[in-house]
Amino acid sequence: MFESLSDKLQSVFDTLGRRGRLTEADVDKALREVRLALLEADVNFKVVKEFVARVRERAIGADVLRSLTPAQQVIKIVNEELIATLGESARLDLSGPPPNVIMLVGLQGSGKTTMAAKLANRLRSSGQRPLLVAADTYRPAAVTQLEVLGRQIDIPVHSEGVTPPPPEIVGRGLRRAREEARTIVILDTAGRLTIDPQMMAELVAIKALAKPREILLVADAMTGQEAVRVAQDFHQQVGLTGLVLTKIDGDARGGAAISMRAVTGVPIKFLGTSEKIDGIEVFHPDRLSSRILGMGDMLTMIEKAEAVMDQEETARMEKKLRAASFDLDDFLKQTRQIKKMGSISSLLEMIPGIGQAAKSLDPVAVDKQMRRLEAIISSMTMQERRSPNLLNGSRKRRVAAGSGTSVQEVNALLSQFRQMQRTMKQLQSGRRGGGGLGKLFGL
């Protein structure tokens, strides 16, 4: 659906095909694409207009750096402006006397309750003692949901069912927090469909009572043009201190983030990345900018890799790679580690430049292929894995039968593996070492 902005700009400048200074005509033609890309990413129309005007001002007459093409030069400016617009990543302000209160607000279905639990869990692991307060008495079973989540992560939840008015629940929640010497109180408030006066009045009442250090607006990354109005209304009436963008693990470009940041001026503090309890990340403007521009997200991938890869194992593996004594057993281990990072196609999408190629890959076929490789290697003895040359016709037949494949497939795997070994030896003699990608894919 979305062609990446960098590709589009490249083709615009291909037709112009010259270097030097960026002329007004060049820039306007490029900015048309920028405008479209931002609108497709759901950045608000007015915000886009202002943004494009700013980029235009900077771009016209700018010298194209020697190392860049004109397209790259424009991308660079757009990227820098985006990062500037998205602002710094900011930490939570927890400097008040405990308990510090964090209040979550937002529309229905934006993910407040889940985020409350994720936040509590994260803060506890940094040494805090959080208490969750269930102040959403409107949505059926919202209180139960928070209670269940609290039980799962073993963090206490203050709940009083759905009858008392939310401000009273909050008041008693705070008292309990002080009695139990909690350092953080997280308030899960009701989301509504409309931004209606009654809801706002309730939020204002809770705010006056609890005096929160942080009021975070939880918003869905998939929100469209509406994002501006939502953020504006909440900011005017309750006064926000930060934004949290949820469901960022989908393929929404997240343009809403730019809009909301631009109209409120408050920083984006966290991103919600999955349904799992640890699915919360600190916001990095440069990464979101890359994503909005469709430039891939290499850093997130590398971080993800680091999170699942066993450090010692990786070090050992690297040593083996350098000594070119990498065997089939190592290959198997590495394949399994990669699998832990998620589906192959989702990984490929994060690599700049091959986002499109990844979409044409059939994830079923890729995963099936991986499973076959695993089966073949698992059917070998340890000795065979260490020295694949042992595998003669009879052994190959046994391995094929054991893994439910054919001798041809076993042969294909072996020749692939030998090629890999050769490449590694070459890399070794070429003194280029195993780079980041080599480590990741064992290629």
């Binding site: 659906m1 479209l36 609108l39 497709e40 990413a41 759901d42 608000n44 129309f45 529309l107 229905q108 279905g109 934006s110 993910g111 409107y138 949505r139 059926p140 079973a141 919202a142 139960t144 949901q145 928070l146 209670e147 269940v148 989540l149 799962q152 759905v162 009858t163 509504r192 469909l193 409309t194 931004i195 869905d220 998939m222 929100t223 469209g224 043009q225 509406e226 994002a227 109005r229 939502v230 469901k247 693990d249 989908g250 393929d251 929404a252 470009r253 343009g255 809403a256 349904e275 589906s343 196609s345 989702s346 994830p363």
Partner: protein, 359 residues
Amino acid sequence: MRTQGLGFARGRRYNSPRTPRGLAPGGHLLFSPCCLEDVLVLSRFRRATVATEDQEKLDQSLEKTRRGVLGRIGALFQGNEIEDDLWEGLEEALIMGDVGVETSLKLVEATRTRVRTQGVKRVSDAYQILKEEMVRILRGDAPPFDLDNRHRLLNIGLIVGVNGSGKTTSIGKLAHYYRRQGRRVTIAAGDTFRAAAIDQLKIWGQRAGVSVIAHAPGADPGAVVYDAIRASQESRDADILLIDTAGRLHTNFNLMKEMEKIRNVAQRQVHKAPHEVLLVLDATTGQNAITQAQKFGASVSVSGVILTKLDSTAKGGVVLAIADQLGVPVRFVGTGEKITDLAEFDPWVFVDALLDANA
């Protein structure tokens, strides 16, 4: 994990006249009796005034939208002469309404061409042409809605969508909607993942007066659906079964596979099931909704959209893009938080309400 037998027993007791309504299995008070009375009284009251109220409801909820950005389109057409400004303003307003760049340009172009070729001079006529073009896109050429076929023994509707789009709420409203028409409805609690999703669905089921077939949290949704179909055919004698599913992002490969499995289970049990696959879409969603419809469509062939949360200032304009680019029609709109806040989708009403500043 499977508590098949228990699930049945629960469901039956749940609806039996001996157990006072408002009591969950095991006697937990699900909501206070006063609230329950309200619900019952309201639903009785509403049954009588249903037809006019649907219209009013939609009008009301779109009122805000109308006054918002898209309302400006109506204002744009208040001028006397057709000028270039009009087209530019139109394009801008459509994009601001989440209609998307591609479909907005297409709409403006189509209107403009017809205005030129038909020699239209009056602004109000141009306005009418725009509405016709929008309705044409919304109507598309989709087959008629097929969840309420009275000749079929059991109609099955599969409800899918991303997290937080309003699936469970929509199912409660749909169940109520068909109950009101005298149909026998059951609900399968296929969201076994999200904390308290089953509780939420049971509360809705109780409000709508239909039985909910559920297993324990964490159970296999395919098994829940299997049991729900059996129960619908046998003990419940239902003719409409609505299947709730866990919210899933369309980028999650494994969860999309799980959803296909649910579909397959239904397919094996009942001829041509599921008869409708409805994608629940939040009206505040932007262009990502197109990708959602595409991915869900590729996986379980989505046959229609339920547009929810239309009572906020949200425009829901993206359904135009979806109808235009994927040919998937909107079937229902959710207009509020109450159980009666669901209306059949009427493209003329939608477009009128969206554009008509003076309606």
